[in-house]
Amino acid sequence: MNSSDTSEAHVMKDTDVAPRPPILEVRDLTTYYPVNRGLAGRLLRHEAKTVHAVDGVSLRVDAGEFVALVGESGCGKTSTVMTILGATKANSGSVRVKGEETVGRTPREMLPVYRQLQMIYQDPYGSLDPRFRVSDTVEEPLLVHGVGATRQERRQLVLAALESAGLSPADLYVDRFPHELSGGQRQRVAIATALILEPSLLLADEPVSMLDVSVRASVLNLLDELRRTRDMAIVMVTHDLSTAGHFADRIVVMYLGRIVEEGPAKEVLSNPQHPYTRALISVVPKPDPRDRSTPQTLSGETPNPVDIPVGCRFHPRCPIAREECSQSDPPLRLPVSVRIESHRVACHLA
């Protein structure tokens, strides 16, 4: 049970089940943010510190796959997505979008990548320019990438994108301003803007957390339908495990910049192997009051990623930690009680 075993399993999986190259391949990605010492700190030569926001993340996403990144705030899930997007600089590691390396590119060099890679943000109230009509916002990517020769042609593409994002009839929405739209409609405009170039990978950071419960499902169902009909891969950041379980094929659980568990969504939720995943699941409120369980709350919150604990990062909060946990950092590997080949966990005791 060590790294050679898992790499073998990976090779088998690659040749047996995945004939297509992955849409996204992330290897050993790290993103560090420097901590500002301030003038006094610099003069006094305080040690320069860094926040290890993403600390060795490897991820593979296939065409049409829906992957959910989950974890507490500060676990690095948004930083991972922003680094994949190129909005945050990676320190080391590799990000390949359709086989093309994107780490180290300048913004100008990134431009062609954005035909394949688009993003939607959490806040549909803040992500749209209030002075732009819906048509201007949705058309922008076409202008940037020089798609659509005539105004007429671009207008047709805009209308089609709005229709596919569920804003139908599109004529009704295309000339409106953001303030004339509801939250759900705004998020659909953001989705239409992201989809107009027909990307093969969509990154979504908490796409529904600002929306009303009654419209959340429709936006998520839309994303689900789009990845099925267009074979588009989706990486969604969320803190809501119930949503992840319902819509994602795969769940990736992060803790302090690392992946601690990943696997098929249903498998991770019904047979969690990492004590952190188990704790997260236990605190998810259930809609049925008869399902009320005793939540296994962990003390405190995610520790400061400036001072990462030695050994397993989770051991100071772990209810079952043993001595070895404070000494060595467990690698991500197949759990001992394997039910499904693609399940991975980083725990000495699993």
């Binding site: 507490e72 705030s73 509801s182 009303d212 419960v213 009654s214 419209v215 959340r216 499902a217 429709s218 936006v219 998520l220 169902n221 803190h239 809501d240 495990l241 119930s242 949503t243 379980g245 319902h246 819509f247 249903k266 939720l269 019904s270 704790a279 997260l280 699941i281 605190v283 998810v284 409120p285 259930k286 809609p287 049925d288 009051p289 008869r290 009320r292 939540p295 709350t297 962990l298 405190g300 919150e301």
Partner: protein, 326 residues
């Protein structure tokens, strides 16, 4: 339940007069009772009147708002004299944790000095006595008393929310109103805060009103809940009844729109949007989005009727079922 409820809201109406002479009726005839130690949930979509309802009971609505109805604390009516009759009860009998309260602390003063403030203002305690009490309050919400000397930025989001709850409890109120107290917090911290509210209700005999848009949070933390729609209560009952024996299509559809961790059911949104409240609503306000509306729904507004023990719902279908079974 013969005893007088600790907190009682009767036929509460709130409306705003708009510049063009029309009226926006934000809360229409909301009634509920609450006993000591009980946690009641107020759930619904944004704009359904949950926050306006509890702000009205605190007397904190803007001056453009008109309020009618009764609010009783231990049987004593407090709304009759407007602002001047509500103010003596605010914070002393009835206190509130505002939405985003964790971000409301002044960054330049210690947390302790800010918790002391309402005590000084209401003449409950001052000086060393007040500081000691601030420490006790922090201990009560699970923060070491010594942290009173620290600044808000030294607290995590969860700790700031606890401190905001401690501040609301500074004048020993009997009723605590919490507006979306866990929104913006992590699941782990959310569970801790809900646990805290439950244990405070238990230990201090507080009556807690929990306003949230999140049904699972209500199911987890409340004994009873009122589902609000378009300023009215659509259904009110025990959380068990609401989930297993719901008598309003809106409640049923809201649950269907909420993903369950390992549930297999398809999650379906509710089509359409709530009606505008600045126009007169004829018939049932939920009619346009309802999947089982009948003819009478278009003409008559359904009233709240008893559909079980301590369980009321406002839906014509219930009358229909009743008349068939008779």
């Amino acid at each position: 339940m013969i005893s007088v409820p600790l907190f009682s809201v009767r036929d509460l109406h709130v409306w705003f007069e708009l510049p063009d002479g029309r009226e926006l009726h934000a809360v229409q005839g909301v009634s509920f009772d609450l006993h000591a130690g009980e946690v009641l949930g107020l759930v619904g979509e944004s704009g359904c009147g949950k926050t306006t309802t509890i702000l009205a009971t605190m007397g904190l609505l803007p001056s453009s708002a008109q309020v009618a109805g009764e609010i009783r604390i231990n049987g004593v009516e407090i709304l009759h004299g407007g602002e001047s009759s509500v103010r003596p009860h605010r914070w002393r009998d009835i206190a509130m944790v505002f939405q985003g309260a964790m971000n409301c602390f002044s960054p330049v003063r210690t947390v302790g000095s800010q918790i002391v403030e309402p005590m000084k203002l209401h003449g409950i305690a001052k000086g060393a006595d007040a500081r000691r009490r601030a420490g006790e309050l922090l201990e009560m919400v699970g923060i070491p008393a010594a942290s009173a000397e620290r600044f808000p930025h030294e607290f995590s989001g969860g700790m700031r929310q606890r401190a905001a709850i401690a501040m609301a409890l500074a004048c020993e109120p009997k009723i605590l109103l919490a507006d979306e107290p866990t929104t913006g917090l992590d699941v782990m911290v959310q569970a801790q805060i809900l646990e805290l509210l439950g244990s405070l209700a238990d230990k201090l005999g507080l009556a807690v009103v929990l306003v949230t848009h999140d049904l699972p949070v209500v199911a987890e933390a409340c004994s009873r809940a009122a589902v609000m729609y378009a300023g009215r209560i659509a259904e009110l009952g025990s959380v068990d009844d609401l989930y297993h024996d719901s008598h309003h299509p809106y409640t049923r559809l809201l649950f269907a729109a909420t993903p369950d961790l390992l549930g297999e059911d398809r999650v379906a949104s509710i089509p359409g949007a709530p009606p505008r409240l600045d126009r007169e609503i004829v018939g049932c306000p939920f009619r346009d989005r309802c999947d089982s509306a009948i003819e009478v729904c278009a003409s008559e507004e359904p009233l709240l009727h008893l559909v079980g023990s301590a369980h009321v719902a406002a839906c014509h279908l219930n009358d229909l079922i009743e008349s068939v079974t008779k």
